[in-house]
Symmetry: C2
Subunit: 484 residues, 2 copies
């Protein structure tokens, strides 16, 4: 075997740091049509992260940061006893460090790196966590999992916590914006690949990193992307936000002690964005940094299923509750829908809760019967409830031009001949029609039911809501464990 | 903001598991010219990994596995007191689990995940570890770091350890072959991206995973690639093989308890190879599996610098030792070299040890003066030694057609007018002219000097050499710590 040119260069290892090779690389870079060199986004982000302060965050951003935490804590509690979490907890217990942080809804304690991982897994179990619709990143998972574990070990104020959350969400979502959709289309699970940046930024902020250390923390985060879309449908999907959280925290912990990386890991020629994506829109990172916030665009799912079914569930609940329509009075439910709705959720006879998540027939029926679309409505029990089964056979979706994927036009014909109609342009949970605080509380209570006592669930919610005044943000974590 | 099509699909989360979407995807896949579906390489590898046995490994593979371990232990000891390791140790100590495994050349003990990371970092500090030249993967780092830590916690025989090492190296290098060079050219540090597969395969083999668990372990490894070439020249480069080791071990630990992934994470449409590379040559994974071994192609560097300088150092040492040429007798050293040698190592007046690694002038001079090219010959001390500085000014490299990058034609003219000539077609350390066992021992001793007492270093070497007979492979780790 003969050595090839690359093995010689590669073996030189540190050669890339030499002027000789840099000259060579510059020549290489100059070959294509001269391009503007990218802005130093790694450094720009690091400076902005360190300069941010809760005191200067716009009110709507502050408000949304609290809602993001509340929603995230709720889904983390809700997922905490799923088999996925049970398996991960039992696998990692023999290797955990000191009991520095707890797990929502459980009794075990772990070192903060493992706790960040496990809470991150737990919060994505039902795919019911927050969504940044522009990138489909689930922003809170990687960020909140990392910094709440840290906050439990080292007290930080609620204001500092929320500021860190906001800079973390901003960092991961802006980097996501720069590479979306190409990066996602290629096969990457974008929450897992951008999440480490968010976790490193937020944790590094709380740790008081210098600007250079923050640049390195982002570089070490860039070195640890997580997750491929091929794993969707397995435990591996929830693994990704969890590992993104622990990877970002790991990066910040190392950088805080002086572990180095490159200065331009996001934008350099052989850095993250060029390596992991065919699109790099640097302006998505730099434009309006500090004036417009991605956290403000965060959305929360009212229903534990794909967003294409949300308008149908929304319409059914409205008709049920506002028009007092009872399931037994329904003769027929006509739905005008976008083709994607049937492509994604066309199962007519689901048998399991999971299959129910892919049945628009079940979604409509269960919403009329139970007035909700939570995790309990996508259980084996609900899917096999005779009243739901009977009603779903009366649901008639028809592909209709002019209806968008996230819209529905529903007409319910009653046994007495009357009809009731709803057109949902924006379903509840969209940016245009966000869930109210009361609805978020109800979602939280529903997720926590059966896991934490009602009074405790309420106390955790109150702590989330009072984060801007909390002296110790770690109280949220401590209050959310089983037996607290 | 309107929701886009992707956000709807993405939010559906588990939708990819439904027949409806699979049908849609099949239609999409059918659009381009019909392609043969890829072989199920994840499953093929899992089956082969579990079927391998030390008893049926060819003798040259057994021999090379021992040499790989010996070389890796030597470089891990050699790097163990570098600032990079000091920083990482101090950063991670507060979070470490039980003291399950030691660190070469040091006294601290960590849980096996952290120990795998730290020994992996340590072994890559000098870029002096083993190299699979076809991919430039450094095979031992990710694999040996993971399984030696595991072996220290849970005793395995030396034979089982070496078999696991071989399957780990085979797995990471074959996957690397399938995507190299495109994947590396794009910017990925291939040791870090393929390393998790090797670590998961090897650790999973020792843990006794079932075939399905091994498939999932490889899937979780696929979800955790590490490292970008942009970080070369910083501590982040050594971070990568270390994190590859702990990520692969993490994957195996979770899979062993039942954590799931997809069945085809390497070859699926949105799996690892398609997402992370523009080239996927499946035959590199499947052809000759179990009959030809990548481990047999592993090479070890005799000199602590890029391979383009190796023939020059080799020639200088030969002339010095065989022809008894003393530095002070040298009038001039003529080198016929490939252009790449000057492009990469053209520094005429290096001032630091690191700069010396990029100076063919220094390399030739120090080899004549000290008869070696180890880490000590690329120190600040050596680079500023007046005898070396004087001699390097007499070195005259000339770009010459017909000379390959890993060759040199050296003519030394002495003060008395005599000339001595060496043509190096294959330098020591190449596949064609591998380092002898005695040379590997000398390299080990040199790396361990000043870190472990000479007698202890010898004992560790002997344990490595006797691995095929060891009842407990963990003895190698226990013998290599400071104070053992």
């Amino acid at each position: 075997m003969s050595m090839n040119r690359r093995s010689l260069i590669g073996a030189a290892g540190l050669a890339l740091a030499t002027p000789a090779l840099q000259a060579g690389e510059a020549a290489e870079a100059a070959k294509p049509a001269a391009k503007t060199p990218p802005p130093h986004v790694t450094k720009i982000l690091a400076q902005w992260i360190l300069g941010s302060s809760y005191d200067t965050l716009p009110d709507p951003v502050r408000r949304e940061s609290v809602r993001s935490v509340l929603n995230w804590v709720g889904v983390a509690i809700g997922g905490s006893h799923h088999e996925t979490v049970d398996v991960a907890v039992s696998a990692l217990q023999p290797f955990s460090g000191p009991p520095q942080a707890g797990l929502f809804g459980r009794t075990e304690r772990f070192d903060i790196l493992n706790a960040a991982f496990l809470n991150g897994v737990s919060s994505h179990i039902f795919d019911f966590d927050d969504t940044h619709l522009k990138t489909i990143i689930h922003p809170a998972g990687p960020v909140a999992s990392a910094i709440l574990a840290y906050a439990e070990m080292k007290p930080v104020t609620g204001k500092a916590f929320l500021d860190a959350l906001v800079v973390g969400i901003e960092t991961e979502c802006r980097i996501g914006n720069a590479v979306y959709p190409n990066h996602y289309d290629a096969g990457w699970h974008i929450t897992g690949t951008c999440g480490p940046f968010g976790a490193a930024a937020a944790a590094g902020k709380l740790m008081g990193l210098t600007e250079q250390q923050m640049v390195y923390a982002l570089g070490l985060a860039a070195s640890q992307p997580v997750g491929l879309r091929e794993s969707f449908g397995s435990m591996n999907k929830s693994f990704n936000p969890g590992r993104a959280a622990s990877n970002g925290l790991f990066a910040a912990i190392l950088a805080a002690k002086g572990f180095t990386s490159s200065d331009g890991m996001i934008e350099a020629k052989r850095g993250w964005a060029n390596t992991i994506s065919t699109k790099q829109d640097w302006s998505e990172i730099t434009d309006g940094l500090g004036s417009r916030y991605e956290a403000q665009l965060n959305t929360y799912k009212p229903f534990a299923c794909g967003i294409v079914m949300h308008p149908t569930i929304d319409a059914a609940i409205q008709i049920r509750d506002a028009d007092h329509v009872r399931p037994e009075d329904i003769k027929r439910v006509d739905l005008k829908v976008h083709p994607l709705v049937l492509e994604l959720t066309g199962k007519t006879a689901p048998k399991t809760g999971l299959e129910g998540k892919f049945s628009i027939y079940h979604a409509a029926a269960v919403a009329f019967v139970e007035g909700a679309g939570g995790e309990k409505q996508f259980s084996d029990r609900a899917v096999n409830d005779p009243r739901v089964v009977a009603l779903r056979q009366k649901v008639v979706p028809v592909i209709t031009p002019g209806i968008e994927p996230a819209q529905v036009d529903m007409t319910v014909t009653l046994n007495d001949g009357r009809t009731v109609h709803r057109y949902i342009e924006h379903a509840i949970g969209s940016v245009e029609k966000p869930m109210s605080d009361a609805q978020l509380d109800a979602k939280f209570a529903d997720l926590a039911a059966g896991i934490l006592p009602e009074a405790q669930a309420k106390r955790v919610m109150q702590l989330c809501r009072s984060l801007p005044e909390l002296k110790d943000a770690g109280d949220v974590a401590r209050a959310g464990v089983s037996g607290a």
